[in-house]
């Protein structure tokens, strides 16, 4: 079952990603992007990362891509915005991309990840996902642990282990990202809004 689902999601994700590259119409690209990102969310669910999958759907697919499509609509000068690349470029990109894919995939897949994980586990202990008695993660119930980790407490890592210092918690990024988002929001709003006219009546 897992294999079958994986095959479906992986094929759709990769196929749609390829379609994004090959498509010339921006809105179609956005559509394929949605499909690709959505299937990736499916992969996340298969990997027992429910919360990440849901976030992917809500923020990425429902937010970011909608934003992109919105941008396409605002900048579409013709009825269907198509900016074509020449076939020569495409062939060139295809060859280079194929070689690049070969390089990355070869490098990544050549590594014996299972052996590495076993080796690391021997020295540094099991990850929280494999620990007996804490395997709710195995079923995708990571929300609470994620919440605790974002507040800095790593119950999943430290509980019942001997540690000098608490393990890495993510309180700082969780908080600092909010400032970043605020700054970025202001920046985007600044660029997007028209320059207000300097006139006595401010609310005009």
């Amino acid at each position: 079952m897992g294999t079958a689902l994986f095959t479906v999601f992986a094929t759709v994700a990769c196929g749609a990603a390829l379609a994004v590259v090959l498509s010339q119409n921006v809105v179609r690209m956005a559509f394929y992007l949605v499909i690709s990102l959505g299937s990736t969310a499916g992969l996340f669910f298969l990997l027992n990362a429910d919360f990440v999958g849901a976030t992917q759907l809500l923020i990425y697919v429902g937010g970011t891509v909608v934003l992109l499509v919105f941008g396409v609509m605002l900048t579409a000068s013709g009825p269907f915005l198509t900016i074509k690349s020449s076939p020569g470029d495409l062939v060139q990109a295809g060859v280079v991309g194929g070689l690049f894919l070969g390089l990355v995939a070869f490098t990544v897949l050549q590594v014996d990840w299972e052996a590495n994980a076993v080796k690391l586990e021997r020295r540094y202990g099991a990850t929280s996902l494999e620990r007996p008695g804490y395997n709710q993660h195995g079923e995708g119930h990571t929300t609470r642990s994620l919440g605790a980790a974002l507040l800095g407490a790593r119950f999943d890592k430290d509980l019942g282990r001997h540690r000098e210092q608490p393990s890495t918690g993510y309180l700082l990024p969780f908080e600092i990202v909010s400032i970043h988002l605020l700054v970025v929001l202001i920046g985007a709003a600044y660029l997007a809004r028209a320059k207000r006219r300097v006139s006595p009546s401010r609310d005009a």
Binding site: Q110, A153, L159, Q165, H180, L182
Partner: protein, 569 residues
């Protein structure tokens, strides 16, 4: 650990200490919020936004300064009695021996607090104060856009502070993103201008792309090592390849090399090193000169701090097993440095726009500074056959970084001075072309002052004695010379660096020639700048002299050496 131990450790141990060390950054965050609240309640009419920004950055700078003094004087040792002002300052910022006085990770090891990060934080916050002051004087954001501009400026600086202190791969990514994304907007800040929006578009496209590549590298690296903690990256890699071949036939080695390369792509973009430099001239030409000055110095400094820390993290703690491989990373960096400075200097030669010329010059300077990092990598990974003792390696490696930090400190002033003068002249002549600089020195007293200061900055950028740039360059060249005895390529690098220095004289001179020697156009009106601007330029030019032939030079280099040595315990 039990649950209560975990929570108690956080609430009573880690958090207070982290908040104490991170205080200046928190002040900057509050500044951002204050700026926005000010506008929300329409107070920006009565309290100009720059006042808030200036105040916030000054407080943050003072906070870091207090920490720096506290740390260097009483670092880790309880019982020292601070005197007078210092004591008040320490009390004001609630510094404690186990907080700011102790080196080590904060926020459960996400960030690092030690002399090295303190030095960079000090520089960055100081630079923020200078840039805010400059924008106040040149008036680049009007009162209307002030809150936006300062929000972006301060937000980007927070990102740089995070990046310089990062001790975790996730923080590396967050830091780089946090410093870049607001700066994309800052480059496009003059939104009605065609060139400005084009510059921003190029910057954001390249920036986002390289950030993505870097992230992929981070994911591979973290996956390989099973951790994202800097301190464990190197040892874990050594452990993984233990007993196997360490050549390129080992898949773990190849994968980690690819990952490190991808991360370096992201950092090279921030440093505008060839071949990731395309954005730099365009962005600087399109952006306001103030922003150009800010980006060229601050984001470079932050990226160098990050680069050094990252390289030491992935190559550290591996002993002999991977040293030869890491040596080649150092040599590869040297090659990039050589290409960058050569390209930067050659391309700068044909420029007609001063900002563009300075942009190419920053590419070249990034190359000079990368020489120091390259030499450091070579020295740290010296093979046993070279006959260097561990103690010597330690001292010489620290000397490389000392050169880098000295260079950055001088670069801060000389580059800011150059960009500030360009901005001030732009406000008078509405032009940034070299041909419009003709005879500027002959207009009025203040204009002459500006031109003289520009001369000092440019001479220092060339690396002529007795200015700071000379000593900085000497330090780096000396350490590269030292590294040459480990691998001959360093001598080649040194030769290229020397040639480049000579070559760079010509294009800097073109600007000065236009200013001083070329006749003043006859129909031009007499230009003058207000005295306060002249004073500002003087204030930032003076350190170029002070870091040159003056007693202060010893102090700075001693500090830099101490700071650098903490990375090589």
């Amino acid at each position: 650990m039990s649950a209560s131990e975990i929570l108690n450790g956080l609430i009573h141990g880690d958090l207070p200490r982290s908040a104490e060390v991170f205080g200046p950054e928190i002040v900057l965050c509050l500044t951002v919020v204050a700026l926005l609240l000010l506008r929300l309640f329409s107070l920006d009419r009565s309290v100009p936004p720059y006042v808030v920004a200036l105040f916030g950055s000054l407080v943050a700078f003072t906070g870091v300064l207090a920490q720096f003094v506290y740390f260097t004087t009483f670092g880790g040792e309880v019982g020292g009695t601070p005197l007078g002002m210092g004591e008040t300052l320490f009390k004001l910022f609630l510094l404690t021996p186990e907080g700011a006085g102790t080196a080590g990770g904060i926020f459960t090891g996400l960030l690092m607090h030690d002399a090295f990060t303190l030095f960079f934080r000090l520089g960055l916050t100081f630079f923020l104060v200078l840039v805010v002051a400059l924008t106040v004087l040149t008036g680049i954001p009007d009162n209307e856009d002030g809150p936006d501009f300062y929000t972006l400026l301060v937000g980007s600086t927070i990102g740089m502070l995070v990046a310089t202190t990062a001790n975790h791969l996730l923080m590396l990514f967050l830091g780089v993103e946090m410093m870049s994304v607001p700066s994309y907007v800052m480059v496009g800040f003059l939104k009605g201008r065609r060139s400005s929006s084009e510059a921003a578009l190029k910057y954001v496209v390249y920036g986002a792309g390289t950030a993505g590549v870097m992230l992929y590298g981070i994911s591979l690296l973290a996956g390989l090592m099973g951790t994202a903690d800097f301190a464990e990256l190197g040892p874990r890699l050594a452990y993984l390849v233990e007993g196997e071949g360490v050549g390129l036939s080992n898949p773990n080695i190849v994968a980690s090399l690819l990952a490190v390369m991808m991360v370096l792509v992201g950092l090279a973009f921030k440093l505008s090193l060839v071949p990731f430099h395309f954005w730099c001239p365009d962005a600087f030409e399109g952006a306001p000169a103030e922003v150009g000055g800010y980006l060229s110095v601050a984001s470079k400094a932050a990226a160098f701090a990050l680069l050094v820390r990252f390289l030491l993290a992935v190559t550290g703690g591996q002993g002999e097993s991977l040293a030869s491989l890491n040596l080649y990373i150092g040599i590869a960096l040297g090659a990039i440095a050589a290409v960058s400075m050569t390209f930067g200097n050659l391309a700068a030669y044909s420029q007609t726009n001063v900002k563009r010329l300075l942009a190419y010059s920053t590419i070249a300077h990034a190359g000079y500074m990368l020489m120091a990092v390259s030499a450091m990598m070579v020295i740290v990974n010296a093979p046993a056959s070279s006959g260097w003792s561990p103690a010597r390696i330690q001292v010489e490696a620290a000397r490389c970084l000392e050169g880098l930090m000295y260079y950055l400190a001088v670069y801060l002033f000389m580059n800011l001075a150059a960009f500030a003068i360009v901005a001030l002249i732009r406000n008078q002549t509405f032009s940034e072309e070299i041909k419009d600089y003709n005879g500027l020195a002959h207009h009025s007293g203040t204009m002459t002052l500006l031109c003289v200061c520009m001369g000092i900055a440019l001479f220092s950028l060339i690396g002529l004695p007795p200015f700071g740039g000379f000593f900085a360059k000497m330090m780096i060249f000396a350490s590269v010379l030292n590294a040459g005895s480990i691998h001959w390529t360093m001598w080649a690098l040194l030769a290229i660096g020397g040639l480049n220095t000579i070559f760079s004289v010509f294009y800097y001179m073109r600007v000065l020639k236009a200013m001083f020697i070329a006749p003043r156009p006859e129909e031009s009106r007499t230009l003058a700048v207000p005295g306060i601007l002249g004073a500002y330029v003087l204030v930032i030019t003076l350190p170029i002299l002070l870091t040159g032939a003056s007693p202060l030079q010893n102090n700075l280099s001693a500090t830099a050496h101490y700071v650098a040595s903490v990375l090589f315990p």
